[in-house]
């Protein structure tokens, strides 16, 4: 294999790198409809402000639990879903990229007419969801997808020949006998043969179907292939075959991969650089080596601890996470991981919702809660059915039953009658920050905000 993996270890400044694809502050929110009239009452923030680059020839791994938005990210990049805000930029020169970043840095209201026009020009020319005509066709050709479920991603009523030949037909690249030859070549390049031409998908095994999917994606010689959990439905031995095949193809055709998976082992095996997502946000981003040998974000660390590994037994001391992923329609303030974080600090974004979560944990505590009047996410009055229940909350918020970090974050806690006023230290959203060369994380323990934390607790 001659894949250039080394260059990935250092993330060069954006202006110097030649990125194939640039994701900038990408957001995809799905409306939640409720009530008899199906009014929109909120949004599931599947992807919520994600930025990173994909350089030619490399593999970017995206890893996270189900529901973290990694698949939606893949769909946005492959142009199957239009983003709510932000965008995926393709084929931009480095100068344009620098201009774009400069322009996006200016708040929208403050942009001048000329700046707005320039931004418009860049977006129409490069933002995937705004591309038109030939530009769109070019992108469409250059970005292909391999889906997780090989059964549902192949039309059950088409022959393998037609499935793989279809992209060639759409772009009028070949027809008749020529088409058949091209399809056969493609089949052979993925380890299948001429005798698979006239088969229906259901006549193939899972691994073979996934090979057909890959052949279809290869047909147009794309620059980028989005691999959405391409092996998670397969058995280990078949998975290894497919992963090896993907590696070989990348070396042969100089492909760029966006590799989406929940499996840390597979991601480590495939990726040059890794993006770790949690609740629609990137929590850590770095080279494969750094992520797996020196992870910074507690979520990354917990993921690795939680996942049993074939190479190491159960002797290792790890961390186990408590609780479940919070509702992505109401993501937690500050660091979204703070509700489950093992090394949480008072500055991680404690908020009123955490009080409600505390009540949920306690026996029948939530039943006594009457109403919540929110002044801000950090400040609210909670009305209870009885003074007793209110007092119980106050006491439990001051007790050891609540994490010390949360207690420390409380600025104000006062009971008047059956109502409790609680206010937490206000925290801004946490941005990704480059804390080591080419290693970005949003965890306060490693970012510049650490100083703030150290000030509080000498």
């Amino acid at each position: 294999m001659t894949i250039v993996r080394e260059h990935a270890s250092v993330e060069a400044p954006a202006s110097a790198g030649r990125a194939l694809l640039r994701v900038r502050d990408l957001r995809k929110h799905f409306p939640i409809k409720q009530g008899a009239l199906q009014r929109v009452v909120g949004h599931v923030r599947a992807v919520d402000g994600v930025s990173f680059d994909v350089r030619p020839g490399e593999t970017v791994g995206v890893v996270g639990e189900s529901g973290c938005g990694k698949s939606t990210l893949g769909r946005c990049i492959s142009g199957l879903t239009d983003p709510t805000a932000g965008g995926v930029y393709y084929g931009m020169s480095d100068e344009d990229d620098a201009r774009l970043d400069a322009l996006l840095a200016i708040p929208e209201a403050e942009r001048q007419q000329a700046q707005r026009e320039e931004l418009e020009r860049l977006e129409v020319g490069h933002r995937v969801d705004r591309l038109q005509g030939d530009a769109w066709r070019a992108y469409r050709r250059n970005c292909q997808v391999v889906f997780q479920d090989s059964f549902s991603s192949l039309n059950p009523r088409q022959l393998v020949k037609n499935i793989i030949g279809r992209p060639l037909k759409v772009y009028r690249e070949a027809s008749g006998g020529d088409l058949l030859e091209r399809v056969t070549e493609l089949l052979e390049s993925v380890g299948l043969g001429r005798h698979h031409l006239y088969r229906y998908p259901h006549q193939l095994s899972g691994g073979q179907r996934q090979r057909v999917s890959i052949a279809r994606a290869l047909a147009l010689k794309p620059a980028l292939i989005v691999l959405d959990e391409p092996t998670s439905a397969l058995d280990v031995s078949v998975q290894a075959q497919i992963l090896n095949l993907l590696g070989d193809l990348q070396a042969e055709y100089g492909l760029t991969y966006l590799f989406i998976s929940h499996d840390l082992g597979v991601v480590r095996h495939m990726s040059d650089r890794v993006v770790v997502m949690y609740l629609g946000e990137i929590v850590e981003r770095s080279s494969r080596h750094d992520i797996f040998t020196a992870p910074l974000h507690p979520y990354t660390q917990s993921l690795m601890a939680a996942r049993p590994d074939v190479m190491e037994g159960s002797t290792e001391k790890g961390w186990l996470l408590e609780g479940t992923v919070p509702d992505p329609a109401r993501p937690p303030q500050g660091c979204r991981f703070h509700t489950r974080c093992p090394v949480v600090t008072p500055l991680c974004g404690w908020e009123v919702d955490d009080v409600v979560r505390t009540l949920e944990g306690a026996d029948a505590g939530l039943d006594a809660l009457d109403a919540v009047q929110r002044h801000s996410p950090f400040h609210a009055e909670l009305a209870f059915t009885s003074e007793d229940a209110a007092e119980r909350l106050v006491r439990s918020l001051r007790s050891d039953g609540v994490k010390a970090a949360m207690r420390d974050a409380i600025v104000e806690l006062e009971r008047t009658g059956a109502s409790v006023e609680v206010r937490f230290h206000e925290v801004d959203p946490v941005p990704l920050e480059e804390v080591r060369p080419a290693h970005l994380t949003s965890c306060i323990l490693h970012t510049s905000r650490r100083a703030e934390l150290d000030e509080r607790t000498p």
């Binding site: 409809k33 409720q34 009530g35 008899a36 009239l37 199906q38």
Partner: protein
């Protein structure tokens, strides 16, 4: 979507559907003949006719005509039934009781038999009982009611003489009073067992005829949904818990299989309603269906319109109730688009 929201949504759409249906019915009334034909009786004078033309705005645009007509319907003016020689609104209630008695008894029989037989067949998948059930179900779906009724008449009325046709013996009819119009109930209220037996005896053949196809439909649904439930993993889990097979079937599989069957029960109510037209004709049952059949033959549009409007509204409401029950019972169902 919440169950409550779903039902509220359906309730909001219901009036819209009723209005749209009424437009279709109105369109039917204008498809042939004079626009005020449905209001005219043979004994009206020229003056009265002009008065009616005035009231229902015959000269005005169609939209206005529709509104006048709908207004009339809301006031209870459904026109003049040429078949019954009286206003439609007067003849309907009396006939309704007869039809409902028939339909309700048939529905009860069909649901009971359908669920029983469907469970029996589903629990014995691919055994003899199951194959018989399949043949029964398919015959039920293929059986022309009018022919089945006639065959039953030839056997039980003409040849065996066990039953008689019509709704009741005239003598017995005169013997008791009829406060509800349901003869079975009336006879019980009057404390007359002879009349009760007579009512049941007259009901037997029409009810069996009417219930046959519906039973087949319910059986088939019950069977296939039971088979589906039995293949679910929770059934296997219930067995793994050490529950007796009867309990697994009764408490787990059948209970969940009933849920989708409920929708079919709602739909088959429409089947029953349309069946009454044929059954009442064959058994000379003095209900709405027979009125409709007569009206159809004589081109009595007022009666036809009223009947169609009435059945569709009833069908809509029944299905709303059924869907609500379904939504409530099935906790897996994802409501909405």
């Amino acid at each position: 979507m919440q169950i409550r929201d779903y039902i509220v949504r359906r309730l909001l759409i219901l009036p819209l559907l009723i209005v749209l249906t009424s437009i279709i019915v109105f369109a039917l009334s204008r498809a042939g003949g004079s626009p005020i034909g449905i209001y005219l009786s043979h004994e009206m004078t020229q003056e009265e006719v002009r008065e009616i033309e005035e009231r229902y705005g015959v000269d005005e645009p169609l939209v206005m005509q529709y509104l006048y007509w709908a207004g009339g319907v809301l006031r209870g003016d459904l026109g003049w039934s040429g078949v019954a020689v009286q206003p439609v609104a007067d003849v309907f209630p009396r006939r309704l009781a007869a039809t409902m008695e028939l339909a309700i008894f048939s529905a009860l029989l069909a649901v009971w038999m359908g669920v029983k037989l469907g469970t029996y067949a589903g629990a014995r998948r691919n055994k003899l009982a199951d194959h018989l059930a399949r043949v029964f179900a398919l015959s039920g779906a293929s059986l022309p009611l009018f022919w089945f009724g006639i065959i039953l008449l030839i056997v039980f009325w003409v040849n065996l003489g066990w039953v008689s046709i019509g709704r009741s013996d005239p003598e017995i009819f005169a013997r008791i009073s009829h406060p509800t119009g349901f003869y079975t109930i009336d006879s019980l209220l009057a404390g007359d067992p002879g009349a009760f037996v007579d009512a049941i005896w007259h009901l037997a053949l029409p009810v069996v005829t009417l219930a046959f196809s519906t039973t087949a439909i319910i059986l088939r649904m019950m069977r296939s949904s039971l088979v589906e439930e039995l293949s679910e993993e929770y059934v296997e889990a219930a067995r793994a818990k050490g529950l007796a097979e009867k309990l697994v079937l009764r408490r787990h599989a059948r209970r969940n299989a009933l849920i989708p069957t409920i929708t079919v029960i709602g739909l088959s109510f429409g089947f029953l309603l349309q069946g009454t037209v044929v059954v009442e004709v064959i058994y000379r049952w003095p209900g709405l269906g027979r009125l409709m059949a007569d009206a159809v033959l004589r081109g009595d549009r007022a009666t036809i319109m009223a009947y169609v409007l009435f059945t569709s509204v009833m069908f809509l409401i029944v299905n709303l109730v059924v869907d609500a029950a379904y939504a409530y019972l099935d906790r897996r169902v994802e409501l909405g688009a």
